[in-house]
């Protein structure tokens, strides 16, 4: 099983529902977030294009955060999701420095926190909180190893990109 997420930026309206759902589901402390919305405007006025993206940890196949973790607190969980074990994390910040997506933050309790692909929900057959609440249904989640899954079909049939592939991390969230 290789879990992955696909975001259809043509359907995303940047409502931030995914952000709020994640904060509520995962008790993210006020003033922090595990996912966020970016708006990028490309081109030269008046020929501009706007892209809205819901971003989070990319649960990379070649995760620098897992590599650099001195205690093994950052590790690959079920389906390749990158998970942090709270009581193994010493809060050295190396994983934050190593992430080209800046997807991690220091929890006020000291340990490093990030998106888990809602593994507590996924292991019970549910979708991640952000995916389940998206009002435009622009987020897809599933198993890349299953060629019939929605994410596999989308990646076969649509043009897609990953963020900063030149960082060499093999990200598993595509847009």
């Amino acid at each position: 099983m290789r879990l992955a997420m696909v975001i259809d930026t043509k359907k995303c309206v940047g409502c931030s529902d995914c952000v709020v759902a994640c904060q509520t589901e995962n008790d993210v402390p006020i003033g922090y977030c595990r996912d966020w919305i970016t708006e990028t405007v490309n081109g030269t006025y008046p020929n501009l294009t706007l892209e809205l993206r819901s971003e989070r940890c990319n649960h990379c196949d070649n995760s620098p955060c897992v590599r650099c973790c001195p205690t093994g607190a950052s590790h690959y969980g079920a389906g390749g999701a990158v998970i942090v074990t709270k009581n193994e994390c010493i809060g050295c910040g190396a994983c934050i420095e190593s992430c080209p997506y800046d997807a991690r933050y220091q929890h006020p309790d000291g340990y490093i926190d990030k998106c888990t692909f809602c593994h507590h929900r996924v292991s019970n057959g549910l979708l991640p909180a952000c995916v389940s609440v998206c009002p435009t249904k622009c987020m897809y989640f599933g198993d890349l190893d299953n060629s019939h899954s929605e994410v596999s079909q989308l990646l076969r049939n649509r043009k897609y990109k990953t963020l900063a592939p030149e960082a060499g991390t093999k990200p598993q969230v595509t847009t």
């Binding site: 940047g14 931030s16 952000v19 003033g31 922090y32 977030c33 966020w36 919305i37 970016t38 708006e39 990028t40 405007v41 490309n42 081109g43 030269t44 006025y45 501009l48 620098p64 590599r67 650099c68 973790c69 001195p70 205690t71 093994g72 607190a73 009581n87 193994e88 994390c89 010493i90 809060g91 050295c92 910040g93 190396a94 934050i96 420095e97 190593s98 992430c99 080209p100 997506y101 800046d102 933050y105 220091q106 309790d109 000291g110 340990y111 490093i112 963020l163 900063a164 030149e166 960082a167 060499g168």
Partner: protein, 313 residues
């Protein structure tokens, strides 16, 4: 022309708008780690070369700074952890891929050896010292008998510690300013340079001063060469490296980098040491302080500027 505007919906303190997870303790740790590594390297090398009597300051006196430096470095490292209660987890595993794991194990071995090393010379350096407890005399005897083994261990350990201070940063390919292979040897050279400066300060004989004057000149020259190589490497790199080097060459860190690290910390001490070599009387403390100042500012610049450099946004 392509314009890209980023409107962030993120709210992560310490990351937005500028990543600043590693604060001053990391810079101080890297400085004292490098200094201690250099001092122990020279002490072990000169001991193994049989120059103990000829160069007493190198082998016996200057290394006293090393355990103090390592202790400061360790306190800084511990202070910077945000989940301190689990720090012992560092020693429950060894992860070769993680420079921090590698470095913490190196520190684990080099710290007691550095204390034992200076302890074995404590009564030679401070003749008035008198131990009241038998255990101290036993430890001293053990340390004196095992000096050669300690020196053999210290050589690779001190080089590892010195290189680790640079590799800790260069292993992060997410930070383009850090991600170059020169940083390890550069930090090692910088550590050796600061150590050679401290040794010159403690040097008692003209022979020691003369040799370390030459060593210092060579190390400063090597450091300038490595820094030039690093800068050229950025300029021949990809767009993210070109953006990253702007922080040092024309950005907010330029004054500190060029003014304090290169001119005040390397070029002026080099000229002063050159005059000393020619026989001019230059107060020893001036180049020594400048080199130490340049060394610590170099760590601050690299740690702070590196965190700003990034791939996205």
């Amino acid at each position: 022309m392509k314009e890209e505007l980023f409107i962030s919906g993120r709210n992560i303190p310490n990351i937005d708008p500028i990543l600043h997870v590693w604060h001053w303790p990391i810079s101080v740790d890297l400085f004292f780690g490098g200094l201690a590594a250099g001092l122990l390297f020279f002490a072990a090398l000169f001991y193994l070369l049989g120059k103990e009597k000829e160069y007493p300051s190198v082998v016996k006196l200057a290394p006293f700074v090393a355990p103090i430096g390592i202790t400061i470095a360790l306190i800084c490292l511990f202070y910077d952890l945000t989940h301190k209660i689990y720090f012992w987890r560092l020693y429950m595993t060894f992860r070769l891929e993680s420079p921090m794991s590698f470095g913490s194990w190196v520190l684990m071995f080099i710290t007691p050896i550095s204390f034992l090393w200076v302890f074995s010379y404590a009564r030679e350096v401070f003749p008035k010292l008198n131990y009241k407890y038998e255990i101290l005399i036993t430890i001293e005897k053990f340390a004196i008998v095992n000096r050669r083994i300690m020196a053999i261990l210290l050589l690779p350990l001190s080089v590892s510690l010195g290189i680790y201070t640079g590799i800790l940063l260069s292993a992060f390919n997410a930070r383009p300013l850090w991600n170059n292979a020169i940083l390890g040897p550069l930090f090692l050279t910088s550590g050796l340079t600061t150590a050679a400066a401290v040794i010159i300060y403690f040097a008692k004989t003209a022979v020691e001063r003369k040799l370390f004057n030459v060593i210092l000149l060579g190390l400063i020259f090597l450091q300038i060469a490595l820094i030039s190589h690093m800068i050229l490497g950025y300029y021949s790199g990809s767009e993210i490296q070109l953006e990253a080097v702007q922080l040092l060459m024309g950005g907010s860190f330029t004054f500190m980098f060029i003014g304090f690290v290169i001119v005040l910390g390397l070029i002026i001490p080099f000229i002063l040491e050159l005059f000393t070599y020619q026989g001019y009387k230059i107060p020893v403390i001036i180049p020594v302080l400048l080199i130490l100042l340049g060394g610590i500012i170099f760590r601050f610049v690299m740690v702070d500027a590196g965190q700003i450099s990034r791939y996205l946004y």
